[in-house]
């Protein structure tokens, strides 16, 4: 008996689907972009957005809190007065943290999205999932105008997380309600 794999592949060949027309990419691959648009679109998701000149100054608001800081967070972000939690961290420790501070890989102006790829200052995915508060620092040069531009800048085989606003659901009468399983508060610092 043929394996399921062979049988399925054979059935596909037997269907003799004719070759398709070439794909016409007539859509816009760029967009207006810009910091203002990004900030506005992030805010539309009811996330908190600030544009700042100094990250350490902005972080003073975290005083007294227990905040996860992934590998690669710049030294000057680790200001005094905050309890910084560093890896290795257990699931329980992450669950008990007050929040997490990260950078990002790319951001998207058109959709108000930040993308994490597990690289510098982002850490593994659980770090930005379990704490209830996520503070993400976005550099202006990381903001891509459009979804196509952002995908082009990303390395697809890294574990990627696209974040557009805080955790939400539309499952009750199709109204968006913030805050289910992911961080209920998302704050974005644009530098």
């Amino acid at each position: 008996m043929a394996s399921a794999r062979e049988e399925i592949l054979q059935r596909i060949r037997d269907a003799k689907v004719p070759p398709a027309r070439p794909v016409v990419r007539g859509y816009d691959r760029t967009g207006p972009g810009g910091v203002e648009l990004f900030a506005e679109r992030v805010a539309d998701y009811r996330a908190i957005v600030h544009t700042v000149t100094s990250v350490p100054d902005a972080l003073k608001a975290l005083a007294g809190k227990r905040i996860v800081a992934p590998q690669g967070v710049p030294h000057e972000w680790l200001i005094d007065g905050v309890t910084w939690l560093r890896e290795p961290l257990s699931i329980e420790e992450l669950d008990r943290a007050d929040g997490v501070l990260t950078g990002c890989a790319v951001a998207i102006a058109d959709t108000g999205t930040i993308v994490l790829d597990g690289g510098e200052a982002q850490g593994r995915r659980a770090l930005t999932l379990l704490p209830d508060y996520h503070l993400c620092v976005v550099r202006v040069d990381q903001i891509a105008a459009s979804v196509p531009e952002a995908l082009q800048r990303l390395e697809p085989t890294r574990p990627l997380t696209f974040i557009s606003g805080p955790s939400a659901t539309s499952d009750i009468e199709l109204n968006r309600v913030e805050g289910v399983h992911g961080p209920r508060t998302l704050e974005v610092l644009i530098v």
């Binding site: 394996s3 399921a4 794999r5 049988e7 399925i8 592949l9 059935r11 596909i12 060949r13 037997d14 269907a15 689907v17 004719p18 070759p19 398709a20 027309r21 070439p22 794909v23 016409v24 007539g26 859509y27 816009d28 679109r41 998701y45 329980e92 058109d110 999205t113 597990g118 593994r124 995915r125 659980a126 999932l129 979804v147 196509p148 995908l151 082009q152 697809p156 085989t157 890294r158 574990p159 990627l160 997380t161 696209f162 557009s164 805080p166 955790s167 939400a168 659901t169 539309s170 499952d171 009750i172 009468e173 199709l174 109204n175 309600v177 913030e178 805050g179 289910v180 399983h181 992911g182």
Partner: protein, 472 residues
């Protein structure tokens, strides 16, 4: 061969089920409110895009290309996933897929698994199969949880509990979670958060679906809102992803089209809160064992139909459900399948693949052919044409039996708003739908339609205009 669980065992034909549903005024109210809200918001989200039509065309063409090169692309996907430490399994049908997943759970000695909403696993009846094998599957998506705790069935692709309003949800939560909770959506969401938190932190095996799989990189993509998906995709040691063989895109670049089309079409957002992408196994981050189960379950048979195969372009956004006048009135459960609404009316019977199955064969008649579904479909599936094509096939296969006459008459009635409204007002619609086979007593010439095997001409513009004015 075992029956395809894509339709629920014992479901009545569409006209019969619709008759019952039409008598449920609470259901109609819930649906009207929910679909009305989402219709307006989707339109605004789409209107913002100046290149929406070009994106739709590209979406259609990419998916057509996938169907034309499906064998090559699947082999490519298998290679890229395997190269990154994943294991790929193939399943001809639901039974085979369920067995593979159950065996994987057993190998992990898991008696409980967490699940993120997936149409593919609902289609194959995975939860029931796991349960029978001693593995309890916990649904973690809010709407799926409402359905599961309510011992209910899903009625919508995206929001399976769309037929429930907040006070019904409150009642289910209080009864099953044993907690006091108000009917505020935020409180209900909080109750779900607390209820599932520990499960996420302790369960070792997760099962997911996939929105897209990228053939050339092996990357799998899941879009979600709540973060339950991220929990399932990140915390457990083992991840099992079940997906239909058509869920592919050829290249990473192709995602730029679908990541724009899907969120706006489904939840009417510029972007859904969370999209996760992973490729095989990443050391030190997330599940260290990854299994991908590719299921056929009627898809290759669908592929042989040159008109019907376009249903395989579907990206499960649910926009066609939300604009469908028949869906809004009859609700999703009348379709007797996890795929309700316009897409269900064309996909389900093809996956079942048996024109003599009365329930599946009744589904292509569950439409007014108003054309709204085609207008909103992000991958331009010409649902009305597929419906008329499948109707002709059903009539061809069955001949003019009492049953096919009844269904044809139902379809005829759904076509004209005035007929529909009149019938509904007079209360005769429900009566009419009850009378499979007693068409001659009815005051309209249903026989006209059925006396020929010709398929009805597509949409009367009047219905569309009327629908816009009254419900749009």
């Amino acid at each position: 061969m075992a029956r395809n669980p894509v339709t629920w065992l014992g479901s009545p034909t569409f006209p019969k089920a619709a008759k019952e549903a039409l008598q449920d005024t609470q259901l109609r109210q819930n649906l009207r409110k929910a679909t009305g809200t989402i219709r307006g918001r989707r339109e605004a989200a789409v209107a913002e895009m100046t290149d929406w039509e070009q994106l739709r065309v590209a979406g259609e063409q990419i998916k057509d290309d996938v169907l034309a090169r499906l064998d090559t692309l699947l082999v490519q996907l298998e290679e890229s996933v395997t190269a990154r430490g994943g294991v790929v399994h193939w399943a001809r049908d639901a039974e085979e897929a369920n067995r593979i997943v159950l065996d994987l759970c057993r190998a992990e000695q898991a008696d409980e698994v967490v699940k993120v909403k997936s149409m593919a696993t609902a289609e194959i009846g995975l939860n029931e199969a796991l349960e029978a094998g001693g593995v309890h599957a916990i649904e973690t998506d809010l709407a799926e949880l409402i359905v599961q705790l309510g011992d209910d069935r899903p009625s919508h692709i995206l929001v399976p509990a769309i037929h429930r309003n907040r006070s019904e949800i409150r009642e289910i939560f209080q009864r099953r979670m044993g907690v006091e909770v108000s009917d505020e959506p935020a409180d209900l969401a909080e109750a779900a958060r607390v209820y599932l938190r520990e499960k996420f932190l302790t369960t070792r095996v997760a099962i997911s679906g996939a929105n897209f799989a990228v053939a050339d990189t092996g990357s799998i993509v899941v879009l979600e809102s709540e973060g339950n998906g991220r929990m399932c995709l990140t915390l457990p040691e083992t991840l099992i992803t079940v997906m239909g063989i058509e869920k592919l895109v050829p290249t990473w670049q192709d995602l730029e089209v679908f990541l724009q089309l899907l969120p706006r079409s489904s939840t009417a957002e510029r972007m859904n809160p969370y999209t996760s992408v992973w490729t095989g196994v990443t050391p030190g981050d997330g599940p260290q064992r990854f299994h991908l189960v590719l299921i056929d379950n009627g898809r290759t048979a669908t592929l042989t139909d040159s008109v019907g195969r376009q249903a395989l372009r579907c990206i499960r956004c649910s926009a066609c459900l939300n604009v469908c006048p028949v869906y809004e009135r009859t609700g999703g459960k009348s379709y007797g399948s996890v795929y309700p609404g316009p897409i269900g009316a064309i996909l389900t019977p093809q996956l079942v693949g048996d024109l003599h199955d009365p329930q599946a064969a009744s589904l292509p008649f569950a439409s007014s052919l108003c054309g709204a579904c085609f207008e909103v479909c992000p991958v331009r599936i010409d649902i009305p044409s597929v419906l008329t094509h499948l109707r002709a096939e059903v009539v061809e296969a069955k001949g003019r039996t009492a049953e096919s006459v009844a269904m044809a008459a139902a379809a005829w009635m759904f076509r004209e708003a005035s007929r529909y409204e009149k019938a509904q007002k007079a209360g005769s619609l429900a009566r009419f739908l009850a009378r499979d086979g007693k068409i001659t007593s009815l005051p309209w010439p249903g026989s006209k339609w059925t006396s020929s095997r010709d398929v009805p001409a597509p949409p009367a513009e009047s219905f569309r205009a009327w629908w816009r004015k009254n419900r749009g």
